[in-house]
């Protein structure tokens, strides 16, 4: 259905209450003769358009959709989020390290998810300007890659990563780590393992949200964790999984993300502290039960 941008914008501002009133008017019995009157016909059209706008709240606006190019720029990178966090809070990055890396997993899907969290750990090391932590994370990443049969995927960028860590060139290091994730995703896509590529991205994001939640406990920022659009995008990634969608830890992830999305959608100023604490607890618990280890 084609809807002009003007109509879409006007109708998208209808509240749920206005939409309900409209629906009530529409379905009220017409005692005059049981036929739809012209003004009701107008309402029918409006409801049709508004129902499209309700979908549009969660998706791309209809008039843009036909020209959208889906790119990997649709989500910010964790370093970009950490940059925003560091402007509103003053994170002590070393306190955000995990005490132990995720355990070793034989299941390839779980190993891919763990790999994503480790990529985020190496970014946290770069934020903390801690070359040793970056090196340790890279060793753990190598273990996961061995299990995934992708150890060669690290070889090309490893010298640069070590060199940037040694020379404390943190911006270049952050770029290399994001590029490393893209490399792994390309390699996996080449092997028709798209699910594993998506799980790396999801692992990276869950650890990023974990860190953002911890920063938010200081009460200064709800960057990333309080944004329902982030949960929607991650949920759409989970829903795009094919064989991996049936795995219990993926079903668990989808349920947790959905719960968090709903929670933040209903969040108010009064419930903010509770919402932040609940988010931190849910994400931390999920990572612990999925990957083992405690912070």
């Amino acid at each position: 259905m084609w809807i002009s941008r003007g109509i879409w914008l006007r109708v998208s501002r209808l509240s749920n209450r206005q939409t309900t009133l409209l629906l009530k008017t529409l379905f009220r019995k017409d005692h005059a003769g049981g036929r739809l009157r012209p003004h009701l016909l107008g309402s029918v059209l409006l409801v049709l358009v508004s129902s499209a706008s309700v979908c549009g709240e969660e998706k791309t606006p209809i008039w843009i959709e036909k020209e959208v190019e889906h790119t990997s720029l649709h989500l910010p990178s964790p370093p970009e989020i950490f940059r925003a966090c560091s402007k509103v809070a003053n994170p002590r990055w070393r306190q955000l390290y995990r005490n132990a890396p995720p355990g070793t997993h034989r299941e390839r899907e779980r190993a891919a998810f763990a790999l994503g969290t480790l990529l985020c750990d190496s970014i946290i090391g770069a934020e903390a300007r801690d070359a040793q932590h970056v090196r340790n994370s890279i060793l753990d990443i190598r273990d996961c890659l061995n299990l995934l049969g992708l150890a060669h995927g690290l070889d090309q960028r490893l010298p640069a990563i070590h060199s940037f860590a040694e020379n404390q060139n943190w911006p270049a290091l952050r770029f290399e780590i994001e590029a490393l994730e893209k490399d792994f995703q390309l390699l996996l896509a080449g092997q028709l393992d798209e699910d594993l590529a998506s799980l790396i991205e999801l692992g990276n994001w869950l650890r990023c949200l974990d860190v953002c939640a911890e920063i938010a406990l200081g009460g200064k920022s709800t960057i990333a964790i309080g944004e329902t659009d982030i949960y929607r995008i991650l949920l759409s990634t989970v829903e795009s999984l094919k064989p991996a969608a049936k795995l219990p830890f993926v079903i668990d992830l989808r349920d947790e993300l959905e719960r968090l999305r709903r929670r933040w959608e209903e969040s108010t100023e009064a419930s903010l502290t509770d919402d932040v604490e609940a988010t931190q607890e849910k994400i931390r618990n999920y990572l612990n039960r999925t990957l083992g280890g405690k912070k």
């Binding site: 020209e67 910010p76 940059r83």
Partner: protein, 150 residues
Amino acid sequence: MSLPPKLLFCLLGTLALSFLAIAQDNAGEVTATASVPLQAARILSGEGFERRAALWEGSLKADSAKSLPVYLYPENEYCFLLADSQQSESLNFALFDAAGELMEEGSFHEGQNALHFLHLRPPSAGRYYLRVTNGADGKPVRLALTYCYR
């Protein structure tokens, strides 16, 4: 939206790089175009900008548009880098929020030849659509786009 003079100076420094980056043969064209924003991003890093490793490459016919979803934060400052193979003057941008409301539109800051820049700080956190349009009098172009933030 105005560029600080120092930044503008750095952006102009990319002219020479863009000369080098445009390949004449079609096969190498996309890669060459993609290398332009990356080269420019290296120069921007001197201004404290960090670049994304992600990149969009594609084509745009005359009198058509592409919308790229991006997720931006008001705490950060962004510089979008767009390279095109035709040194086109008919490329414009519009930025829409997640609801499809127009936030800003206009022409890119022109580096010469293949480079176009857009410098912005969004009003709030969330999804935006960067719409790139090629005018009716424009030629079909190959494009590459990425962004830097600080």
